[in-house]
Symmetry: C2
Subunit: 305 residues, 2 copies
């Protein structure tokens, strides 16, 4: 593959940025990778493991002469970091991000960018429960979606170039309206995460069931929730604070449904339960057919009560 | 390993029974395996694939001369099947089961067993989203827990022998009071399953987000819920109907917590969210340390919003 950007600056060096660095090298897509993290410890680690070609001591220094700047910080930190780098951005450069909510990022970043700088928001739908500069790996984005939410008036070639990068990192790229993105993600990610966090918190609170029992017998279903609920707290706090409306709407519907199922349990309405559980199987089949999972047995995970 | 039971009858030939058949053969623990299923189709399939040494046309015929009879049917079918086999049970035989709730199974089975027959309820905490006689595999119980909930007055050697079988199938066996079992499972399995079913149902209902979008972008977290929510509807209906009280109690606490987190989102209380998400990480670490999961990256599953 040929070079898509001569110099890329990664601001923030967590799971996504470090995976991008590995994947960009694997594909030979980039001339030079420059990195910056607010934490000295992270900068030191990144230097030790040779994550980037160069790690700078300030965000402004890192973006100097960069053709692409990717903001890989929690959504709540986007505005501050934009104010920091804006004066140092090269004319013609593209700024992008990897934030999990898009309307809020657009509002935090766009007003502060100088004329002549392109802005193409993006969200790679990939991750693990790990965080930090050592957690990245080149395969993270393979066969995963990357959603781009460009705003009106963005230069088409800036979008095309960023699309070429993400395709080269292994992703399938789609464009989407930012508000629709936030609603889709509320359903497929944000509400499920809040629900998993809640269930794990409840289990932790229960005094009649000891923590060690919850841990010991977690393979019966609970474990899948703890994996989701072990993700980075700062990132997730910012997701919920910046996708408030859509997340609360989905949670409202969720609570309604849950009440209906609780009532069916209380009144012994087995038919309602059976019908509901039969319907949800179809969605699972769709996911397997769409290649987003396999139906191979996973040796004791899930399924049996 | 030496023979633990000369003849074992499996009543019901789904995921658990078929996995038991494979695992018993792998370990050479059993002289003869006899099977029965209410469904002719299942009996035919079991014969075709040679799942058991013999498949009988009635439950009563299957349990004749058996040293161990394992009821592998949904909890709601336990009483009827017990009435069917009771007259045919050999004196000195042990009856066990693999039901996900234990108080209800004890009430459904024990009153109908003849004198001289031992009853040792058991629950292997293992499973996949698959069901049916072709879904079983010998490794399903390896390093998983099997909880036994013997009632007072059970002959210790009947318990010891069943323990030897389950240990030979790969499981770690623990004894537990039936009511405590039902509470522990409500936390670690039944409530999480109902919650996953609910979330998948909500996603299916949403008209503004198309089904294909939900399926396409499921890797962002939702997919783990669909795996849980694809389990056998009949089995799960019976679980909720027979562990009503404990499940409703946990769901009540869950709803309370969820409301508190929703309020924190609505009022923008980031500290509350951050604290909560930080606390749930500790449970995840416990599960990894207890060997019930690994923290290896799972290539795009979970984590990132």
């Amino acid at each position: 593959m040929s070079i898509v950007y001569e110099r890329v600056a990664l601001i923030g060096l967590g799971l996504i940025a470090s995976s991008m660095a590995h994947a960009m090298r694997r594909a030979g897509l980039v001339g030079e990778i420059v990195g910056y993290s607010r934490s000295k410890e992270t900068r030191d680690t990144a230097r030790e493991i040779g994550l980037c070609d160069r790690v700078e001591e300030s965000a402004a220094a890192a973006v100097e002469d960069a053709d692409l700047v990717v903001l890989c910080v929690p959504v709540g930190a986007m505005e501050a970091v934009t104010l920091e780098i804006a004066p140092a951005l090269k004319s013609g450069a593209t700024v992008s991000d990897v934030g999990s909510t898009k309307r809020a990022v657009i509002e935090a970043v766009r007003p502060h960018l100088p004329e002549g700088v392109h802005f193409v928001p993006a969200h790679p739908l990939a991750g693990t429960e790990q965080s930090g500069p050592t957690s990245g790996f080149a395969e993270l984005f393979d066969n995963r979606w990357c959603l781009m939410t460009p705003v009106e008036g963005t230069a088409p070639d800036a979008i095309a170039r960023l699309t070429a990068l993400w395709t080269g990192l292994g992703s399938n790229v789609e464009e989407m309206d930012p508000d629709h993105h936030d609603l889709v993600l509320a359903v497929t990610s944000h509400a499920p995460h809040l629900i998993a966090y809640t269930m794990v918190g409840v289990a932790d609170d229960l005094r009649r069931v000891t923590d060690s029992e919850v841990v010991k017998y977690s393979a019966a279903g609970f474990r899948d929730f703890t994996r989701i609920a072990a993700s980075d707290p700062t990132m997730w706090r910012d997701v919920f604070l910046t996708n408030k409306e859509a997340t609360l709407e989905i949670l409202g519907r969720f609570t309604e449904e849950l009440f209906a199922l609780q009532r069916a349990i209380r009144t012994g309405d087995g038919e309602h339960l059976h019908d509901y559980f039969t319907r949800t199987r179809a969605i699972r089949r769709g996911i397997i057919e769409a290649g987003q999972d396999t139906d191979a047995p996973d040796f004791g995970r899930g399924g049996h009560g």
